[in-house]
Symmetry: C2
Subunit: 497 residues, 2 copies
Amino acid sequence: MTTRTSRRAFLAGTAGAAAAVALPAAARAEADSAAVPSATADVAVVGAGLAGLTTARRLVAAGHSVVVLEARDRVGGRTLNHPIGDGKVAEAGGEFVGPTQDRIVALATEVGVGTFDAYDTGNNVYVNGLINLKYSDTGPLGTAPPDPLLLADIIKLSQQIDLMAANFPVATPWTAPNAARLDAETLETWVRANSVNAEGIVGLLRPFTEALVGAEPGDLSFLFVLAYVAAAGNATNPGTFERLFNVRGGAQQSRLIGGSQVVAQRVASALGDRVHLSTPVRRITQTATGVTVASDALTVDAAHVVVAIPPALAARIDYQPLLPAARDLLTQRLAMGALMKVEAVYPTPFWRAANLTGQFLTVGGPVGYSFDNSPPDGSPGVLAGFVGGAQNLKWGPKPLAERRAAVLAQFARMFGDNRYLSPTDYFEMDWTLEEWSRGGPTAIAGPGTLTGYGPALRGAVGRIHWAGTETSDYWQGYMDGAVRSGERAAAEVAAAF
Amino acid sequence: MTTRTSRRAFLAGTAGAAAAVALPAAARAEADSAAVPSATADVAVVGAGLAGLTTARRLVAAGHSVVVLEARDRVGGRTLNHPIGDGKVAEAGGEFVGPTQDRIVALATEVGVGTFDAYDTGNNVYVNGLINLKYSDTGPLGTAPPDPLLLADIIKLSQQIDLMAANFPVATPWTAPNAARLDAETLETWVRANSVNAEGIVGLLRPFTEALVGAEPGDLSFLFVLAYVAAAGNATNPGTFERLFNVRGGAQQSRLIGGSQVVAQRVASALGDRVHLSTPVRRITQTATGVTVASDALTVDAAHVVVAIPPALAARIDYQPLLPAARDLLTQRLAMGALMKVEAVYPTPFWRAANLTGQFLTVGGPVGYSFDNSPPDGSPGVLAGFVGGAQNLKWGPKPLAERRAAVLAQFARMFGDNRYLSPTDYFEMDWTLEEWSRGGPTAIAGPGTLTGYGPALRGAVGRIHWAGTETSDYWQGYMDGAVRSGERAAAEVAAAF
């Protein structure tokens, strides 16, 4: 890779002074690149989250020159370590790994990041209307609550969903049996039609989908939900609803030592000056022989580009020539969920002494689901919770002090202990306010999206390739999916040279 | 309004040469505006479709200085006249007006554009599987086909929908009774649950929603459909399903003399050099005292800006500071429909002699609905059809010759006359390929969009105001809604001075 200041930059002042109001296209292109240095590489990668970094790492290993353009002033995308003192961190973004998430664990291992068990000893708390109970997730329902009013439905629906998710074509959900019908309804309508206590089950599903994807059961295509469940596995272990939901044996089983963002940081560190921060990409121009990737701070000429950002953000890049209609229309439909993570820090995780895991599940918000997010040594105690979907829309715009008070009051109420009201620190991360995420944790698909537009999700458009967790076959929406997508994109590009 | 070449443009060359790869934000802002002239005005308007032009016309009439920035090299947005020789045109975009569409008709009258009746004499043709019939829309069902297998369902569903759409809060659909439930399901699931011949009714709905909004029944929130139906009226005449669907007495009753785009052209002509073409807006920066609207060819400093483009395109502007999360998330969800208009020109509209209106409705595509699009004097004959939703996705990517042959063969088959195979001209307009529409005819809302994010649809964000047909209370999705939205936005801005 070579970096040079573009000759065009020196001409821009002159060209600009002579330009009339209606600049011809060529002059506009000159103006665009004014003052921006340029570089060349085999491959440009847009985004330095886990997907983009994995793509770059793989391609560099294969001997290609790579430039990574990251809009933020940091790497890691939807992973973010929040310092809590003494060199310790608590994650403000994606953090858990679990069985079948082989690729993120392999990458972490490669860069020397180990895992530890998420704290899960003792009882969970469940509060839903008149029902208030404590339960261990070592029971037959795992992390799902043994609510006597909903028990039969929970078991039946889980089994039905698992059955439908078995043998599901995770890479091509639109080819699933009966895909059109399944994609023409929402999770809510399907659940209502298949439950005894429909109102109760939909109510319980809310905190679940709010935490899982930042959305309500009525927002989600049922086909998308099946695809998401089916993706909670790998080629030898089909995904199940339980694996998605569970801590023990599930997607929330383990955490990464040093905080999840450290994986991205170490991969980026190995890539060195190939990674450019604060370089938001605005335009990708494709010709028969290459691509030009124009950002605010650097223009890269490359043979291929891998766009490794969420679909809704990929939509905001100006592609010339235009992308195929189906691709653009897809990115108009894959919206981000609405998710905030709130966290309170205490001198110790005192819930552990009361035989509590720190997990509660409840209906009504602001937090629907909480968990122990303390460092490996349990000091200090960190209690985290999700404010997602409708709860995010309700609570996000309120003043911090009001939201903080409501969250801490809820912690105290759920666990019956006023010590929760007085943390030593309180912080939150609302992913909907992030310019370069525009929501979280992942993109969701409403009805009609996958069957109508799904085939445009990961098919390369000439020299433009797509990565990002949303494009993964397994574990879409997770760190593991991001890594898998990067591996796939790198292989795709390498094969094209 | 004054136009001057920005002083910053002269500095850009120097700034650029000195810039390191990681340019500081201030230097990047300099680079962005390099070579672009600037202007000042009371109000900047983004988009010169009917919404933006109406906004500008109203504000100018109220004594304000206005600059309109239009990305295309023409005005009219989703209206577009296609020349067919002899100075005549056939519309390639929105074209019909009808009862209760008072505002587009008033605007047309103001600029000297009259209306004429859409040709509607004789029989319509309906083909659906074994059923093949001709019918007049003077019957009790209007334009809806009297299919004996579906008749009872058509009547029942129309009545149910009209009942639910009566007294509907068109400006705030999310406040409708039972809004959450209605917004958690699709038109398809609602229809299936309320029909005797569910499969048949969903099949018939496809060509209808494909032509109406470029989408499938399973793509649409049922609450959105109710809002759309309720919007097919005005303050004194509540919207009905029939008015939406009908030619006679409905939304397809009349056309504009000279072609619908002439209204926009005349409004733009009166605005003169306030309208700037080929100036796609890329960034809107808001301060306590004003806004800076940066396009490829002109930067405008104004007290207010009205963004009068579809939500999915408004999402692609870089707003600084960021818009509220709910607004951004809304624009991630309001996707454009997929619609193409195909038109064949014949020496005469020979279907008229066979007592045919030129309208057919059929299941299976490529065209679902056709109509007589001839000029007022009936010479030449123009037969137009819609290829929308799934049909658009299927047929859009095929070669023109293949699509043309399929369309003409369908025309011949539907009307039983091989003369349809040999037009003197054939043209088509695929709105999904338009860089500055990205689909058509309008934005659609899937489940969860309106109840979750709807309140952000038209509420101003400080000095940034929203217009466009999608933001209208009545006739959203139509030319009339565009005009109404412009009138509302202009009043909103005028009141803020």
